[in-house]
Symmetry: C2
Subunit: 472 residues, 2 copies
Amino acid sequence: MSSVRPTVALLGLLVTATVTAAPQRPVREAAPAEPLPAETAAAQVRDRALAGGSVAWELLESLTTEIGPRPTGSPAMEAARAWALARFKALGFQNVHAEAFTKEAAWVRGQESGAIVAPIARPLALIGLGRSVPTPSAGIEAEVVVFSTLEALVSAPMGSLAGRIALVNQPMTRMQDGDGYGPAVAARAYGPSIAAARGAIAYLTRSITTGNARAPHTGSLVYEDGVPKIPAAALGVADADLLSRLVARGAAPRIKLVLESSEIASAPAWNVVGEVPGRDPAAGTIVIGGHLDSWDPGQGAIDDGAGVAITAAAAKLIQDLPVHPKRTIRVVAWGSEETGGSGAAYAAAHATEVEHLVLAGESDLGAGRVLRLLLPKMPADDPLRRALAIVLAPLRVYVGTDAAHDAGSDVEGLKDAGVPVFELTQDATLYFDIHHSADDTLDKVERADLEQAVAAWVATLELLAESEGGFR
Amino acid sequence: MSSVRPTVALLGLLVTATVTAAPQRPVREAAPAEPLPAETAAAQVRDRALAGGSVAWELLESLTTEIGPRPTGSPAMEAARAWALARFKALGFQNVHAEAFTKEAAWVRGQESGAIVAPIARPLALIGLGRSVPTPSAGIEAEVVVFSTLEALVSAPMGSLAGRIALVNQPMTRMQDGDGYGPAVAARAYGPSIAAARGAIAYLTRSITTGNARAPHTGSLVYEDGVPKIPAAALGVADADLLSRLVARGAAPRIKLVLESSEIASAPAWNVVGEVPGRDPAAGTIVIGGHLDSWDPGQGAIDDGAGVAITAAAAKLIQDLPVHPKRTIRVVAWGSEETGGSGAAYAAAHATEVEHLVLAGESDLGAGRVLRLLLPKMPADDPLRRALAIVLAPLRVYVGTDAAHDAGSDVEGLKDAGVPVFELTQDATLYFDIHHSADDTLDKVERADLEQAVAAWVATLELLAESEGGFR
């Protein structure tokens, strides 16, 4: 970078700082039972987290070791519910309970296998996509047609894939904020119905990943109404490339697929809740959390054991303060993010208290360092914004000028109902290397990064929970 | 580094360079049919390789796509023999043939599975070790005892593991030259018999890897005579760590293992040979090559399709020179490195021509860049050494002062019979992340690195094959 001119927003801050020497925070007594000035309390809890004083690692280690992967509808998810209830109580949270809801159908993986059978014989590393229908039990054997992008598949004429299997081998771009996922994931989510509409009898996608591990990456698909539902799986990137190379030779490779799965109708699910009560019941509640459910091949460490651990650990540091901030902090361990439903169920169950919910934010982008805080739209010289910038700067976290827009899929329902959201953007450079795969395990988590994330969350929460006014 | 004083050896070179202005190489005519000065020819073939003019990528792409993994004794290895014969002929090599030998036993993997059954239920990512005996078909279920290092297992009292399964969870150190493999691999090779001697009924090792992928890494074990042979497998690193964490909780985890395998007695195997004939039949032969066999879970791309491709491509560039160097270059695609035997078979078959073999070297450390050339012991101011230093410097390859000692396991037998060896050390920083695992696939190979390796090999070979005198 060749210039160091401050942005306009920063210039505004500098001007304001000159005019008002002291931050616009309520002045409070220093006696232990009285609240510290929020900035001081925020810096204290931030530094406690950084020094290893949070329970985030312990929670994440426990969840991944004792429970492991926990798809919604599985016995492991039931164990995870009990784990979260017990842990939230042990942390001293109040009002700890599980809020039950029903999933129309929980998807359960069965045996899966695949192989190239001609012109060579080679096993394929693959994993079924969530919500995929099964193949017949004898499997499907057919020629595979390879498309370099989803757009190329869309361009294929209707009927052109009749009796064949479509593969979209579109790579994903590595972006620090994970923004490459959106354009790539369409191949997984919508590819099956796009292929089926053109006559395909099964669908494969290159794993939606920035990594190059052989292990395939799962995730949910979305069938389009009125189009035949065809079985669908993700291939390891090396396997997708191998098929592309065979096609480049002029071969018309044939593959055999066996994908077993079943569905549990009206499956029970839960959002587990615990609270750190605020000093002022009228000051409203801030909803935070991560999702407790996970995909099945790994341990659900970065997706999203980390989010549960980071937010619960941040709340615990506030719980332990001699004086709580004004607002209540509510931690929710959502119970069905991966196959959908927990955010909508939460919003529906809490429709009558929406006005009481001051802010909402989810931690669901792994265990990497926090880089940035995005807030609801507010003036650049808002004193709260300035206080947040000051307390977060030592963590190398800045307060972005854009308003928060993507605060996690489990708070989408609240957002739609009018609850303002905030976002602590994490470094997701490596996140999609292991996301939704067998490689999502505890050893991928850098403890110091996890603790930095807790520090950013707790400092942010303390200031937000002590702040005046609303964000609407 | 704070000082830039040249080493003593380099000082010697500088002095010599001042005294003798021109390198001590035979002066030759410039006419096309006459040999170029070796330095010029070496620089030409080096630059041709760097510019993408070698067949290395094409060979490696073909081998990994069309043949894939090729354990000795498998039908794939038979296909690989035919592939190598056809390819060597198509490259214009002379005297192309396969030299058959017999393996006492070829090991064949069967179905394998493992799981933690108590205090939690969790599948384990594992892979059987080469030469392991199978478990009973119903499997083995027992408590697992975890040791942090092989030394800790050695320290366990005799009989202390009776009826139990031993796990050594010793990590491997990442070293640029791959030197961390030696100290780590003992846990795989010798751990089974060390555990069996202490009463263990099965053995597990953390995968011998610098990576953290869930995919386990196989490799051969060596049973000690007089000790019961117990089944043995490697765990993914996350799985080994999970068991360690359970033990750290005071649990005595129980696991279930099913490892099927069989052996083919008197299995046929082959070393495939092709030659680039030298101008002077009396000037002797330089033996180079890589090994054609591979482990089964990946594609055998970096281990060791790359070595076959690099050395055959280097020989091909010399084959295409208008005038060949004096010495013959013989490329050998060895046929049983992973489970042993091809080097010994080759040395035995060529015992009578050992005096005719001037030098030998194998490429078996992946597809990374060459960093260093090690030669047989010679004076620091030897003109050949100086010429090599000059032609390799643009590739950022230096000529090391130590004598070559580890030139690849397939030339160990020749070395023991008195054939001098040379070594082109590759950057192995990432090699053991994927070695012997499902992740050893073509997409891990950086084409520019592969071509730099060919450039280093071909420049070195041209000068060695044109040089005077011997290396004994």
